[in-house]
Structures are given as C-alpha cells and as structure tokens.
C-alpha cells in the first residue's frame, strides 16, 4: 500500500521535475550572469581570492547570519531535548558502570591522541585562510570541534570534560554568534550598510586581508566549533551519565 502511494507520488514528482528541468541549460553550459559578475569583482573589490567565502561572508552575508542562527538554534534544541529531566538521575561514577562502553584499545588511544594536535592546526589553518583558498569558518570550525572528540575517543569522559569547560564553550558560542551580528551593526554605526566592510582590505593574498570577511570567518569558526562541542557534550552526558530514576545500571 505504502509502495503504491510512493510510486504514484514519484511519478508525479518526476513529471514536475522533468517539466522544470526543461528550462535548465545542459550541465556545463552555465550562462551567468551573477556568478561571472562575482568572480570578476571579488578580488578587485574585496581582496578575497576564494569567491565562495566572499559570497558567504560578504555578498550574501545577511543570509549567512541567518544560517548561523539556524545552527545556534539547533544546538539549543539539542541541549533542551537532552537535558536532565525530573525522572532522571545523574550517575555518581559513570566510569565504573559495568554497562557502560568498553575502554578504548591501546591502538585507538595512541592513534586518536596523535590526531589531536594536527586537527587543531588544520582547523585553525582552514579558518584563517578561508578568504584565500577553499575553507572558512564553517568548515574549519567543524574540524576544530573534532579535536575534543579525539580526546574523548583516546581516553575517558573526564578528560573530554577537562578540555571542554561548558562555561567557556558557551561563552565562545555566544561570542561567535553575537560577534557576527555586531560586525554587521558596526557597518551601520559607521554610516554604511549592514554588514558592509569597514576594515582595511589589506594586501590580496595575505592572511589578514579582505576586511570583515576575515573577521566574520573567524567568528563563525568559533561559533561552529563551540556549537558542535556543546552538542557533543550533551550527547555524551546523556548517553553515559544520566539514567532513569528507579532503574539500576
């Protein structure tokens, strides 16, 4: 029954999609004009060689502000849904729980611990070079967030908690999200448009170039990394520490 309904709807969808695709050009024959205009003005006007980052953090920066708050809202949703509820208790010694996950093997510990440093360096590199080469705040922030995860995989929950102080991570999350909006408002304060560049553009190709694009990329990196770490904290605490009242183990 379900499959019949599915087949009928898929046929309908295929018909509409085919009708819509008739207006498209064949793949490989992109005709512009927006992409070509942005490709042409990104380097001279914004001193940013990665046009994708220039679009995300400058040309359509307002959309990206919304996108960042989608991420922010989603992380808040995760925290809210996974919070400790009135019928739940916190385990006193989660590490000694016989039903908990087994300890990591030596190979796992050595490998994940060796990855922590490279992940931090690589994440910072991607965040700071977003305006020059592919990358930026979103990608780099996610890579940065894997470093604490590696710490968890290489050891125990206590060590993960030691490197990710919830208070600091929350402050970082708020700084990243609020900072983006403040950079936009600073444009207004300077008598320009919202999110318009107000910083010196610098020399094309250097790390500290392209004005607010660089600043927003770094702020987004902080926000994304902190948001993902907050969600991970919440998941791990929920899985390992919280248990239902009246149930043993």
């Amino acid at each position: 029954m379900r499959l019949i309904l599915f087949a009928v709807s898929l046929a309908g969808f295929a018909a509409f999609f085919a009708a819509g695709a008739r207006g498209l050009r064949p793949v490989g024959h992109y005709a512009g004009p927006y992409g070509d205009v942005l490709n042409a003005i990104s380097v001279p006007e914004r001193h940013a060689t990665d046009v994708v980052t220039a679009i995300n953090f400058d040309f359509r920066g307002f959309d990206t502000l919304g996108e960042e708050f989608i991420l922010f809202g989603s992380v808040m949703g995760v925290l809210l849904i996974l919070r400790q509820q009135h019928d739940e208790l916190r385990k006193e010694n989660p590490e000694e729980d016989p039903n908990g996950p087994p300890a990591a093997s030596d190979a796992m510990r050595a490998f994940t611990l060796a990855l922590v440093g490279p992940m931090v360096i690589f994440g910072l590199y991607i965040v700071f070079h977003g305006q020059l080469t592919p990358g930026g705040g979103f990608q780099g922030g996610l890579i940065l967030a894997t470093a604490p995860l590696m710490v968890y995989l290489s050891g125990k929950l206590d060590e993960f908690k030691a490197v990710t102080s919830p208070r600091l991570v929350e402050i970082a999350e708020a700084t990243g999200a609020g900072g983006f909006a403040l950079v936009g408002l600073a444009g207004l304060a300077a008598g320009k448009n919202f999110l318009e560049n107000i910083l010196p553009l610098g020399k094309t190709g250097s790390v500290f170039s392209s004005g607010t694009i660089f600043l927003i990329s770094v702020l987004t990196g902080i926000e994304v990394a902190a948001g993902i770490v907050l969600a991970m904290q919440s998941f791990l605490e929920h899985a390992l520490e919280i248990m239902q009242r009246g149930r043993n183990g």
């Binding site: 379900r2 499959l3 309904l5 599915f6 898929l10 295929a14 999609f17 695709a21 498209l24 064949p26 793949v27 490989g28 024959h29 992109y30 512009g32 927006y34 992409g35 070509d36 942005l38 490709n39 042409a40 990104s42 380097v43 001279p44 060689t49 990665d50 046009v51 994708v52 220039a54 679009i55 995300n56 359509r60 959309d63 990206t64 996108e67 989608i70 991420l71 809202g73 989603s74 992380v75 949703g77 995760v78 849904i81 996974l82 020059l132 080469t133 592919p134 979103f138 190709g205 969600a231 998941f235 929920h238 899985a239 239902q244």
Partner: protein
C-alpha cells in the same frame, strides 16, 4: 550535439533525481528512526548534485583566484555557496532528528515508527 554530449548534459539532473528517489524510497519503507534520518540525509544530498550541476561550466576552474588570474574561465560560485549553506542546514536537521530518536528510544524502547503509533493509540 552528439549523443554523448547530450547524455552528459542531462546526466547531472538525472543523478540528482535518482539520489532523491532513493532517499525517498528509504523513508517510505523505513522501519527504524535512525535509518529514516540517514535516508533524509541522502535525499537532501540530491540538492547538492542539482545545485552544482546548474553552476558547472565545461572546462571551468574552481572559483578560487589564488593561483589563476581573475577573469579565467571558472564555474559559478553562487551555487557553491548555496551548497555550503545546504550542508550546514542538513547537519542541524540531522542533529535534531537524531536527538528525537534518542529520546523516543528512551521513553518507548523502540525506534520503529509503526510500533510507536500502536503505543500511543
């Protein structure tokens, strides 16, 4: 236009609809909330293929002018930026769906959507 060119010209859109349909089939036949979440991710990834197909230009370089001169033949950066947005949104949706699955499993002990309905009724 030769047959092969014609085929390559529409292949991108065909792949997009195929990935979409595969994900949708998975959602329709799903008996597990986690499986459903993954199918949703598969379905949404069809939009990446569609967006990148629209912006592709034969022989075009990536829109990064760090080592190629400004004005070189490059693909459309707008759809690539949209794809990045798309990926971020997918990640947030997936996080919320997985969290809901965790809570549902905790409260009802099952991840099967059909059984859930029986429990509620």
């Amino acid at each position: 236009m030769s047959g092969l060119e014609w085929l390559m010209g529409w292949m991108g859109y065909a792949v997009a609809i195929w990935v979409f349909a595969a994900g949708l089939y998975g959602i329709v036949t799903s008996r597990n909330w986690m499986h459903l979440a993954i199918c949703l991710a598969v379905m949404q990834s069809s939009t990446y293929v569609l967006l990148l197909s629209i912006g592709y230009r034969t022989g075009g370089a990536a829109p990064v002018f760090a080592d190629i001169p400004v004005g070189a033949r490059a693909v459309d950066p707008v759809v690539q930026a949209l794809t990045l947005t798309d990926i971020v949104v997918e990640a947030t949706v997936l996080a919320l769906v997985v969290v809901l699955a965790v809570q549902i499993h905790k409260h009802s002990g099952t991840l099967d959507p059909d059984k859930l309905r029986e429990l509620e009724g």
